[in-house]
Amino acid sequence: MTMAWTCPTCADTVSTSDAFCEGCGRNLPVEARDPVPHPEATAPDSVPTAPQESMAGFAPNTDVDEVGAMSEGPGGPEWDEADAQVTQPVRRDAVIPRTGPAPASPKVVPEWRPPTTGGEPVVAADPGRCVWCPGRVVDGYCEKCGFLQPTGRDHVEVRAGKVFGVSDRGLRHKRNEDAMAIRVMEEDAPHAAGAVVAVVCDGVSSSPRSDEASRVTAETGATVLAERLRQGADPREATGVAMTQAARAVAAIAESPEFAPACTFVSAVTCPNTGTVTVGWVGDSRAYWLSGGPTSSTSTLLTRDDSWSEAMVQMGALTREEAMRSANAHALIAWMGADSGEIDAHISTVTPTGPGAVVLCSDGLWNYYPEAEALADAVPGTDTAPLDAARTYVGLALRAGGKDNITVVVIPVPAGGRRAEHV
């Protein structure tokens, strides 16, 4: 309800809820309306018609103690009180309470890490679901995280036990022609209990269907290696058989020697019982040992590339820097495919003295971190957080330019396995 008063200046009739006098234009004192308790303020009827909560900006607070005073409300005191302030400047819009959320307050983007995988091969089991989160896929994007969904092998993440592999198309190539395969032996298997088998293959891009070549080779290699270990074969022997069979398998998909799909091969077998790491390779995909602590063997490259540049260095014809600067640096001198002739399978075994990780990778990663030390320093904790490490390596390679397909498999090797004596 509105009470009528008289303007102190021109004696026109004004309302207590008026902001100014319509007659003379004089601003009516707003300070007089402050809800500050006042001995003379006893006119609850003159409370403006707005609901109480809108006065929040004006009210000092609403403590229980103040309720009594508040009930007197922001009422208009007698004009005598207002007149006492006439000589002072009075402002009409002293405080405008804001409605709605506060503006432009520094909003902070919540802490966020890359979308996590459920742990299974990320090649969508259910094409209607996001590969990184539980969201549904709408128009090719996840309805929750918003990421464009990978198609086929653009970005693949594989987990088997504590072993993780990440493979990515990179930024320059149209297809991902890398492939990987991982097998883990049961803890109670009669032979090679708890052993890990991993294979990485890099399709030779100048050959046809190199994506198929790498997939067939990696799958065959890992399957045969695991089979042989289960049958009780020694890791070196199993690796040799697996490489031979993998090479046959990729040769078999060729239409002709002139039209032969081809790829590289690198495998690793880690045996917790013996503490050994056995690697086998053809081509320029690599295996590294990354040290997990000062008491463990130092980080080192376990393979030697079958590449033109490596051959030049071995012959002493060029320094490593000169060789790598050459246009031929990445030219392969050995590979797996129908046109490769007899393959010269390299096999090597080491027994680390402490914890660490074996990293298998294609040149999409090692081009940016050729030295074992640099690779180890780039991502600490490869042995304790293998998935993060694999993802981070791929991320680093993409940041560095992502010029090639990138594949990284990280196999953590725990300390204190039942070691055989050094061989």
Partner: protein, 449 residues
């Protein structure tokens, strides 16, 4: 097909997104200009339900030439209403007084009611105060009694509101979005800021100044005509964003600047519906900024999914009229990532221009000449840069321009109040840029139909 449940009333909406989707590594801020265009059927018939309330300030200050002009203008508006539209004329003084019809309800336009209303308008008398909040509340009540459809009000005033600002704000908060209101101020005694607040709450087309009462009739007719051309009410811009992202802002940037960021409701998960009022055949542009977590190089993200919707009874009955994607892709290619989309740049400038004018004029009123000179100088430079000749012309009446390119200006000692207010009022009107021609790879997704 008449009388279908098609809430779009046969209108076709299109969304086009202009942006540079490439972000540098570690980049998180995605900007896009979203253009929404609607095409209504040529003839808007009686199948479109509409209500119109005309509110004329009849406070004492309107006496004389202004009240006569207002009467004529109201008549022109009434004559423009098509048959079947529900309408009312309200006189605003200390309270809201029904001029036509006499009872607190809307009347339906026909030859009889039109004649009666034209007569009733002749009885407007200037007397009493200015209480816009109570006028607008009355309009809201009238619209509530009239059912759904297009709800449009015209508010004319010549003075500043005589309600405590908190009371006024509370009214605006309560009625926000319940109808669309176009505001006009006549003369120079009203406050631009007040009408701008009404305009923002009620999604008007920007407040307007009527410098000469003689221009009022044409202006009212135009507003009523525009309102009669509206076919779809309660259109909302729905912005979906990915998890862990923050919507920095959603601003209408053409035809006027209107910040819609905080004006949103959530009807479906992860999406905000920003009300945009009613639409006829028209185009509006929105500048959207979303902050997303940085992604790996080569990763592609839908940083925003923009849809035009009309609400149904329940969210699953909402009608989606058009949709488009705001994308993000991280790249190590600096050149690609640092390129700014020309339309984003243009509207960023236009919004800054409006802000500089308003800040400059406020500083000038408060006697802070240094701030006023810097702000208005920057405004001159921005207007010059964007080729905004209309604003440059208005700025010319407030400052002496020494160098438009650098924004070097001197404040004019004597400025006509009408010039200052025109500049202030028009500051939020922007110059529109044309969207680039649609081609492959646009963010626009086809709408239904």
């Amino acid at each position: 097909m008449p009388n279908t449940s098609d809430r779009a009333g046969g209108s076709e909406f299109r969304i086009q997104v202009d942006q540079n989707p490439y972000l540098p590594l570690g980049g998180t801020e995605v900007h896009a200009v979203v253009s929404v265009t609607s095409h209504s059927p040529v003839l808007v018939g009686t199948s479109v339900r509409a209500s119109e309330v005309i509110i004329i300030d009849t406070s004492g200050s309107m006496y004389g030439e202004k009240i006569n002009a207002a009467e004529q203008a109201a008549r022109a508006a009434i004559e423009t209403l098509r048959d079947g539209v529900r309408f009312a004329v309200v006189a605003g003084h200390r309270e809201a007084e029904m001029i036509y019809p006499a009872a607190d309800r809307l009347a339906e336009v026909n030859d009889g009611t039109r004649t009666e209303a034209l007569e009733a308008v002749g009885r407007l008398r200037a007397d009493g105060g200015t209480r816009m909040g109570s006028w607008l509340l009355k309009a809201a009540e009238l619209f509530d009694s009239g059912g759904d459809g297009i709800k449009h009000a015209i508010l004319l005033t010549d003075g500043q509101n005589n309600e405590m600002s908190d009371v006024f704000e509370e009214v605006l908060r309560r009625i926000a979005g319940r109808f669309v209101c176009d505001c006009r101020g006549v003369g120079t005694d009203w406050k631009v800021e007040e009408l701008r607040r009404v305009d923002a709450a009620l999604l008007g087309g920007g407040p307007g100044i009527i410098a000469d009462p003689a221009d009022m009739t044409a202006d009212f007719r135009a507003m009523a005509q525009a309102s009669m051309g509206k076919t779809v009410a309660d259109v909302a811009l729905r912005l979906w964003t990915p998890r862990n992202s923050v919507v920095r802002f959603v601003k209408q940037v053409a035809p006027t600047v209107q910040d819609l960021t905080d004006r949103a409701v959530q009807r479906v998960p992860q999406a905000n519906d920003h009300p945009t009022g009613s639409w006829g055949t028209e185009s509006r542009d929105y500048h959207v900024c979303v902050e997303v977590p940085a992604g790996d190089p080569g990763r592609q993200l839908r940083a925003g999914w923009v849809r035009v919707v009309t609400p149904g009874r329940t969210p699953d009955r909402d009608e989606v009229l058009a949709s488009g994607n705001i994308l993000a892709e991280w790249t190590p290619d600096e050149a690609k990532a640092t390129e700014i989309n020309p339309r984003v740049a243009h509207y960023t400038g236009q919004v800054e221009l409006a802000r500089m004018i308003q800040d400059g004029l406020t500083a000038r009123r408060e006697g802070d000449e240094t701030t006023a000179t810097t702000r208005l100088g920057r405004a001159v430079a921005l207007a010059h840069e964007s080729g905004d000749e209309e604003t440059a012309r208005l700025l010319d009446r407030v400052v002496d321009v020494i160098d438009p390119a650098t924004g070097t200006v001197r404040l004019k000692p004597d400025v006509d109040k009408i010039d200052e207010m025109t500049l202030d009022t028009d500051s939020t009107r922007t110059v529109r840029t044309r969207p680039r021609r649609p081609g492959p790879g646009t963010g626009g997704a086809p709408g239904p139909g």
